[in-house]
Symmetry: C2
Subunit: 374 residues, 2 copies
């Protein structure tokens, strides 16, 4: 087996779990936030900087790397770790979410998905077998099965048919996956916002005995309360001795609420994307750096932060860099936001350890959102 | 006196000089290449990275900082060093070159220059007194007098009138400069491509006894041979006990030829600008990273380079980053190009020390340009 999940402690107040995920490239403390390196680079960051902020694992996107530079090239380079100079664990998604997001540009059949590249319009075909070939070539420690992420809203009949095909594709992925010694294949639980369908999907996938499970089809436009409701009944369906990964979630409130409901792993482009747009997540809430009130603010972005950006630069300088469209703006803001989420998860793990996760949540929400409860 | 130039050795083969420039923020080994940080940041770099590549001094642009964020704000931040987190020496230009480059957008009188901002079209006025106010507020170790950089070509009569005004402005700058203890004001020798005018300009400025001299009005479109000819007769006019700075020059051949003619300091945006456009300067010549031949080239950018980029990444990865428009592309390519020029000057200093500068030049040109002599 490529990975092993070690359950350290279950929270006495909530469904939260403290764990250790053993992978071929090292041990990951969970719950964990994974920075996203879509095109074999976490935007604006070097691997050394990610290590300095204690990033333990990063995610990269199969769809993007398949199209450019191509998985065969990455394999020839010695795999994704070597290609991008990152020797800690990597997780690759299946490309499913990306191709289904192409809308008019893709067509789904039982066999797989035909789609057009967003780069040059060229035609491509992804099937469970092809996705396994790509992910095996990339060589990530954790790889995702090819699934359909049903849209929101979608009716019960559509979602049922879709999840059943996702199960059939999961079987095909399992059969096609050739590197089980070094790469752990996760199944993805679908079922939209329907409890019976989530139960059906979980049951079918658990029967296939994957080394870990993702919860897909959430954070796709539904209200957050609905996402939490789905997590409330879906997470407990999953085996306790396997890691649970909620895909595409990265806002501080959703991370904490996800952990409370038993999620171990999260990823999202949010921290780096809003950083490049000049928004910082800080211990006292969001900051939009271009605001005129920061023109002569010579204090750090976050008074309670120890990241490279906050130790060395002022809001006035960051505002100047942003307005002058300087690359250092994206670098410093991304450094801070990634550090913020990674550090948040460290505090969350500490709170689970000390059985005070609900108190931590309430204090955090009050500081960050200015509300006593979400 | 803010600075002191220490002449260590004169080359036996050429006009080259080995020296040490003592400044309020440390000692600079000359000849030296200075990376350019136009808007209070060397594009895509952190100060720590510049130190790692042994950058000893950087340049920043008065025109840009005056317009954004404003010199008063920088002063309030504690000066440019503190604002941008750089504790080694800084040199600021006078803004003359930038405002004169605005063409139709500026008007020159004896009093100064009226111009429109390239950012928002707002109207501004720069005079020798105003430029000193700005440069004093920024607080660089070395500051430039406000001069007119005559265009190329320009007739003898225009250039003569222009250089005489530059001398009158130099007197006004000297009178207006308030921080002589911590900031050294350099005079700028003009005179276009006319020997008699260069002699006149040098004579007039030397009489004003500046702590250092720049040679301006070169690298403005004239053939390189003509620039070398002007340097041949201009550099020897300057006092031996003062540093000599050739503005806006950064191609490897011009750096070496400039040193041979007695220049101590150079600056140019070239290494960082071409880096962002995907071009690298290497020990075996220029490389355009997007070229298809590098698609599967898993060797470093420069086989003889010890920079962070060359130690950790392949041409195939750099080509991927460039084509994917990733910020890390600009970072890594800029790191390499700056390291290359800083290291080139280190080798030049070593060659002067060992009295083999001409041999070094010939070997370098053969490797870099594939020619035995320029």
């Amino acid at each position: 087996m490529a990975i092993k999940y070690e359950l350290i402690k279950e929270c006495k107040q909530t469904g939260a779990r403290l764990g250790r995920l053993h992978t071929p490239h090292g041990i990951i403390e969970t719950p964990i936030f994974m920075p996203v390196g879509t095109q074999a680079t976490v935007k604006a960051m070097t691997p050394e900087e990610l290590k300095e902020m204690e990033a333990q694992i990063i995610l990269s996107n199969t769809y993007h790397l398949y199209l450019r530079p191509g998985h065969d090239l990455v394999k020839e380079a010695g795999g994704l770790h070597k290609f991008m100079n990152w020797d800690r664990p990597i997780l690759t998604d299946s490309g499913g979410f990306q191709v289904f997001s192409l809308g008019e540009l893709r067509k789904i059949t039982e066999e797989g998905v035909t789609f057009q590249s967003h780069i040059d319009g060229s035609k491509h075909f992804l099937s469970p077998e092809k996705v396994m070939e790509i992910e095996n070539a990339l060589g990530a420690d954790i790889i995702m099965a090819f699934d359909e992420c049903a849209p929101y809203p979608a009716d019960h009949d559509y979602v049922k048919k879709s999840l059943e095909r996702t199960t059939r594709w999961a079987v095909r992925c399992k059969d096609a996956h050739t590197n089980t010694e070094n790469q752990a294949l996760f199944g993805i639980v679908q079922g939209g916002m329907y409890k019976d369908l989530r139960e059906q999907s979980a049951k079918e996938l658990i029967a296939l005995d994957f080394p870990g499970y993702s919860i897909g089809g959430l954070s796709v436009g539904e209200p957050k309360e609905l996402m939490y409701e789905v997590l409330d009944y879906t997470a407990p369906l999953l085996p306790k001795d396997k890691p649970r990964y909620l895909m595409g979630v990265g806002s501080p409130d959703a991370l904490i609420e996800g952990v409370i409901r038993g999620i171990d792993m999260f990823d999202c482009v949010l921290p780096t994307r809003i950083a490049r747009n000049g928004t910082a997540m800080t211990s006292v809430g969001k900051i939009v750096i271009k605001n005129a009130k920061f023109t002569r603010d010579f204090s750090p972005l976050d008074p309670n932060c120890s990241c490279y950006c906050c130790k060395n630069y002022t809001k006035a300088y960051l505002r100047h860099l942003y307005k002058a469209d300087e690359i250092l703006s994206s670098r410093l803001m991304s450094t801070h936001n990634l550090h913020f989420l990674i550090d948040l998860m460290k505090q969350v793990r500490q709170a689970i350890m000390e059985d005070r996760l609900l108190d931590f949540r309430n204090e955090f929400f009050e500081r960050y959102y200015g509300i006593s409860h979400l």
